[in-house]
């Protein structure tokens, strides 16, 4: 599967360039927000309000929630990044993977039930609380008419989304597929994360892995979309290896999300996705970082690890939590 374009919305802003910048210059500080469940400020890599202001791109989305807006902007940017026109909207599919979906909208709907009663809730909130509202907005915004699938797993939503895109491309259902991962932060989720994971005090304390007592993280949110096709196009000359194939040769660099799984082969390993905050779709961020490294012929420095020097990377493996592996290779 050829990677034709990448779009990204995160605390860093919009566009894949925003990731490249922090890869080169190092981490930015997270937002420190007030939360009702602890006195100390809570660090989070949150998407800024301004990032989601785009009158043109979001013109038909007045009712949309943040989850859908992040998805649409990342999808639009992926297409723009590729710099190509889609020949047939019916031959372009959308696969959106998410672990938790638009939970702040779900909670707003629960607020409605609790405050106004079962018979006085907002139908608009309800229709946006379903996981697939975002993919629907992506199709409408880009005028796509192929299949659109939203799927959810807690362990490897991006991996599973890519796998589905691969079957669509292999079987000729689509000529191109926009594959994305979207995850949102919100106060309730921040509470849950604070109960489940060690939260780093600031960006210098993030310990992606090898940390005693497990990794310490700062939660993040955002959307990453890849435009994939059978033919090479766009700025990268990088492709995903066949997913699920045992024949993929060992990579010369591993990228892990934040917990360090047992890697299938030995090679230097690093972690970069925490630069936008940790989230269940971090694999998508890892892959985006991998594409930039393969394209630029560099391996960026990163915190918490021995410095990786002079690695000639032709192939990168992105290891997810569920023993799932994605391979990136230069064309």
């Amino acid at each position: 599967m050829n990677i034709q374009g990448i779009g990204m919305v995160s605390a860093l802003g919009r566009g894949i360039d925003s990731l490249e910048t922090v890869l080169e210059t190092g981490p930015i500080a997270p937002s420190m927000i007030e939360v009702p469940f602890r006195p100390a400020l809570f660090p989070v890599y949150a998407v800024a309000k301004e990032t989601l202001k785009d009158k043109t791109a979001l013109s038909r989305m007045r009712r949309a929630d943040r989850f859908s807006k992040m998805a649409v902007l990342a999808a639009i940017d992926a297409l723009q990044n590729a710099g190509i026109e889609l020949h047939d909207p019916a031959r372009t599919g959308v696969v959106l993977g998410t672990a938790f979906g638009p939970h702040p909208t779900v909670f707003s709907f629960l607020d409605d039930i609790l405050e106004f009663g079962d018979d006085a809730v907002s139908p608009t909130l309800f229709s946006h609380s379903v996981h697939n509202a975002a993919a629907s907005y992506v199709s409408v915004a880009l005028g796509l008419a192929g299949p659109a699938m939203t799927l959810t797993t807690f362990t490897d939503p991006f991996h599973q989304s890519l796998l589905l895109a691969q079957t669509w491309l292999d079987q000729g259902v689509c000529d191109s597929v926009l594959v994305g991962g979207v995850e949102e932060c919100g106060t309730v989720m921040e509470y849950i994360v604070s109960r489940k994971l060690r939260i780093a005090d600031d960006e210098t304390n993030i310990q992606p892995f090898f940390a005693e007592g497990g990794p310490s993280v700062i939660p993040g949110e955002g959307a990453v979309f890849f435009l994939l096709g059978r033919e090479p196009a766009g700025p990268y000359s990088v492709q995903f290896g066949q997913i699920g194939s045992k024949a993929e040769p060992a990579p010369d660099l591993w990228i892990v999300d934040f917990e360090c799984p047992t890697l299938p082969s030995s090679a230097p390993a690093g972690c970069w996705s925490h630069l936008v905050g940790s989230m269940p779709i971090s694999t998508a961020v890892s892959c985006a970082a991998g594409v930039l490294m393969l394209t630029g012929g560099t391996v960026y420095a990163q915190t918490g690890l021995v410095k990786i020097e002079d690695v000639q990377t032709e192939r990168i493996g992105c290891a997810g939590r569920n023993k799932t592996t994605l391979y990136l290779r230069r064309d």
Binding site: V106, F109, H131
Partner: protein, 390 residues
């Protein structure tokens, strides 16, 4: 690109208000007896009728995870038919559709959170213990791909379509696919707010229809490549022959007036199944009994298929949301296997606007292929073609 292999349906399971298990379902289909009633499983001001599953056998640990209990019941029935005592050592994928079970929407937890910004984590742990597909994978001890498809009301059909893609790509040899959803207060409130819940028993395609009744259930198929079945000496006359999916790209909650996406989904399903439209013996429609769905779906199907027998089974099950596509795929396969389809319960008066006259009584069907359609929020449309090989 290799030639897609034939995919057999080697097991099926169905749980709905029509019956727990396929024998009970077929019995209910013989004679329409519909008694949707106000919900009893939880408290709500809303009293419009729903189709509840009564006497669902559920282990105590799944008491608060009804969708999982529904799914497990259907999966167990489907697996029993395969004759396999376990799936160890096999390459099995799991694709299940749902709506409710995908959300962290426990009102008890959320209410506690709202009152003091702290809440016991039981509901969260329950939620995080695995989403629907991961839960079933764990129960069965399989470790292939496991996805929960959340395409609203076409989730079940799309999950079956995703599994078909895996099997034809050789990613697994066997898949458990379908959908499950419980009756839950959140969609009950939501569908009422959307103005599509009826105060009476639903009447799909009827001129005087006034909306849907929610239901609950699970419908699951065991899908298997022909070589995999042959290797263990298993046979089946039922094939999952084709799947098509396309979006309207029109509106979040309203279907495209001319059924733009539905037409493409059907065309694609027929093409991949290598079946002509005149080979379709009957159509199991989405037929929710809402004004909009039945108008758009009915007129589209009437235009494409003319007088081909059609029915909606929502009159027996209610609208089971994420389960609907799974249940109706099973019902479609049963129709082909049994050679008859049930009366489209609730239909009396034809509606010129839909142009569809579904079967009014138990009807014999002839032919080897049938179509099942699903339409959803977000403009998703899915179509499945099922074949009976004599």
């Amino acid at each position: 690109m290799s030639l897609p292999s034939t995919v057999l349906i080697t097991g099926m399971g169905a749980v709905s208000a029509a019956g727990i298990g396929i024998p009970a379902t077929l019995k209910a289909f013989q004679r329409p007896r519909r008694e949707p009633a106000p919900v009893t499983r939880f408290e709500s001001l809303l009293t419009f009728p729903v189709f509840e599953v009564e006497n669902l056998p559920a282990p105590p640990e799944l008491k608060k995870m009804r969708t999982y209990a529904l799914a497990l019941t259907a999966v167990s029935e489907a697996l029993e038919q395969t004759g396999l005592s376990n799936l160890k050592g096999r390459r099995v994928g799991i694709a299940l559709g749902t709506t409710v079970a995908s959300q962290l929407n426990d009102l008890e937890f959320y209410n506690a959170w709202r009152s003091n910004y702290a809440a016991p984590m039981e509901a969260v742990d329950r939620f995080l213990s695995g989403n629907l597909a991961a839960f079933i994978a764990k129960e069965l001890g399989v470790n292939g791909s496991a996805i929960t498809v959340v395409n609203a009301c076409s989730s079940g059909a799309d999950a079956i379509g995703a599994a078909l893609g895996w099997l034809q790509s050789g990613l697994c040899d066997m898949a458990i696919a379908g959908g499950a959803d419980e009756l839950n207060r959140i969609p009950l409130c939501g569908f009422n707010a959307l103005g599509v819940a009826s105060a009476e028993a639903c009447r799909p395609f009827d001129k005087n229809r006034s909306g849907l009744n929610l239901g609950e259930g699970a419908g699951v198929m065991v899908l298997e490549t022909e070589p995999s079945a042959a290797a263990r000496g298993a046979e089946s006359n039922l094939l999952l022959a084709g799947y098509g999916s396309a979006v309207d790209a029109y509106h979040l909650t309203a279907p495209h007036p001319e059924g733009r996406g539905l037409r493409r989904a059907i065309a694609q399903a027929l093409t991949t199944a290598n079946v002509r439209d005149d080979e379709i013996a009957f159509i199991n429609t989405h037929g929710t009994s809402t004004l909009e769905n039945d108008k758009v779906e009915g007129s589209t199907l009437a235009d494409l298929f003319g007088n081909t027998p059609m029915l909606s089974t929502k009159g027996y099950t209610g609208h089971t949301l994420g389960a609907a596509g799974g249940l109706e795929a099973v019902f479609t396969a049963l129709g082909l296997r049994e050679g008859w389809i049930p009366a489209s319960a609730g239909f009396e008066t034809p509606d010129e606007e839909t142009g569809v006259i579904p079967v009014r009584e138990k009807t014999k069907v002839h032919g080897a292929c049938a179509l099942s359609t699903s339409l959803a929020f977000g403009g998703s449309n899915a179509a499945l073609v099922i074949k009976y090989r004599k």
